[in-house]
């Protein structure tokens, strides 16, 4: 049972445009959502997170939106840069749990 889903395996955008990465979840107990970025042959690095009591969190070029009623979150990258090309993982957690649940990831390619 996949509790965190990233249904699109890849996305390609032009440099300077917006990248929108989507994520759906099934467990209504999740109260923290996180995005990670991963380059090949490296460990994932934390990008941005959002608590379930918020609907938006912004950090520089990165903004995460949370729609609890739809059990959906998205990561917006504006403007996209070639260095943003990587695999992005959506993850979720709930209070008291020791485990972070990851989606399968989505490969973003930003073309110069």
């Amino acid at each position: 049972d996949q509790q965190v889903k990233q249904n699109s395996p890849s996305l390609s955008v032009q440099e300077g445009r917006i990248s929108i990465l989507n994520c759906d979840y099934t467990n209504s107990m999740f109260d923290y959502f996180l995005w990670y970025k991963k380059y090949p042959a490296e460990g994932p690095t934390f990008l941005i997170s959002i608590s379930s009591i918020k609907d938006k969190n912004e950090d520089g070029r990165f903004t995460v939106f949370l729609n609890k009623s739809a059990k959906h979150l998205s990561l917006h990258i504006v403007p996209s840069q070639p260095g943003d090309s990587a695999v992005y993982f959506c993850a979720a957690n709930w209070g008291g749990s020791e485990k972070l649940v990851f989606g399968k990831g989505m490969k973003l390619t930003v073309n110069p």
Binding site: Y32, L100, F102, G105
Partner: protein
């Protein structure tokens, strides 16, 4: 500052051989530690986690095992490797209550 180290970085092993991957964390005490695996074309799969010395929780039944002999040391082992054990193994420690994880550099295992 906190750091996390994994070794070896790359490993090529024959089927049926043993395995030992090590992970050490510095700059923190009594961390929650995790082993994840990223298989080719797949997401991040949680294998084991530990909340303290000698305490191991297994997420996926398989021929792998984990041990935590010291507070800041986490070891992933196998007595006999399978072809399906090939993948990128990641050690991580939990940074905060939101579930944010800080990952090591990863260990690439190829079983031939």
């Amino acid at each position: 500052s906190q750091t996390i180290h994994q070794w070896p970085a790359t490993l090529v092993q024959p089927v049926g051989s043993p395995l030992s991957l090590e992970c050490t964390v510095e700059g923190t005490s009594n961390p929650n530690l995790y082993w994840y695996r990223q298989a080719a074309g797949r997401g991040l799969q949680l294998l084991f986690y530990s909340v303290g010395i000698g305490q191991i929780s297994s997420e996926v039944p398989q021929n792998l095992s984990a041990s935590r002999p010291q507070d800041r040391q986490f070891i992933l082992s196998s007595k006999k490797l399978l072809l399906s054990d090939s993948g990128f193994y990641l050690c991580a420690w939990r940074v905060n209550r939101a579930g944010e994880l800080f990952f090591g550099e990863g260990s690439r295992l190829t079983v031939l």
